[in-house]
């Protein structure tokens, strides 16, 4: 019985991840931004477990098929991509150290507000001002 529950839960996680994966391919993002809150809300993951699991899911090149679609359509800037990579690794090391000293809740709220403002800006520049 417990084993069946666990299998059902894993299957539901797979379904949710498929939907998040469509968003990831559609918008060229990793998917962690959606996956972490969904694991917490829908599957009652503890916050750290959700973040660790999300990071693990992104270790294999999961965006490969999506990337190949863009590459096939000639929509990839190789130079910019290669130049950004080392910065993300180095900045990530620094950022994760700073994060230990800050309140993660507060940081997330500041970032959430930033994203909402950014989204409004994107919609305005795409559909309202032309």
């Amino acid at each position: 019985m417990r084993k069946r529950d666990r299998q059902l839960r894993l299957f539901l996680i797979l379904l949710v991840a498929c939907v998040v994966g469509v968003c990831a391919g559609l918008f060229g993002v990793g998917g962690g931004v959606l996956l972490v809150p969904l694991l917490v809300m829908l599957f009652k993951f503890e916050q750290h477990l959700a973040q660790g699991t999300s990071l693990m899911a992104l270790v294999p090149p999961v965006g490969l098929l999506a990337f190949l679609n863009y590459a096939h359509a000639h929509e990839v800037s190789w130079a910019a991509g290669l130049l950004i990579m080392p910065g993300v690794v180095l900045g990530g090391l620094y950022g994760s150290r700073v994060a230990q000293k800050l309140s993660p809740r507060r940081m997330r709220r500041v970032f959430a507000v930033f994203l909402i403002v950014l989204g409004v800006f994107l919609i305005t520049s795409a559909w309202i001002l032309r």
Binding site: F27, L49, S54, A57, L58, V88, V98, F111
Partner: protein
């Protein structure tokens, strides 16, 4: 000059990734569009390209050592991302850049709301799984 800007952008994105425990795509895509004048499709393809290597591996290992990774859930999520990403990117390539930019804006706002909600949840959450 262009190279210096791109490298700096990578560092900035990396710090945010470390702080928030999320992938950098949500920041990389609008930064490429607004700071470097990329087309929306090109920005998304480049974002997927630079996320192919496991940039979050070091961070993931920290979680792994603390047993904050659910391996099977992570494997399911990786599978879902891989398959979903294929269909998402196929949809994206058919859209025109302006609509894709607006849709990206909607996605960013939604992510912001999810982050905000998540930042309110931990008080209610108990570690029900593990």
């Amino acid at each position: 000059m262009w190279y210096a800007e791109v490298v700096l952008l990578g560092l900035t994105v990396g710090v945010l990734v470390g702080l928030m425990g999320i992938g950098g795509g949500v920041i990389v895509v609008p930064a490429l569009v607004y700071l470097l004048g990329f087309d929306q499709h090109m920005a998304q393809g480049t974002s997927l390209f630079l996320q192919l290597p496991p940039l979050g591996l070091a961070a993931m290992l920290v979680y792994w050592r603390k047993k904050q990774v659910d391996f099977w859930a992570g494997a399911m999520c990786a599978t879902g991302f891989f398959l979903g990403g294929y269909y998402g990117s196929a949809i994206a390539i058919r859209l025109n850049s302006r609509d894709l930019k607006g849709a990206f804006g909607v996605f960013v706002i939604f992510s912001g709301i999810m982050l905000w909600v998540k930042s309110r949840l931990p008080r209610l959450e108990k570690n029900t799984l593990a």
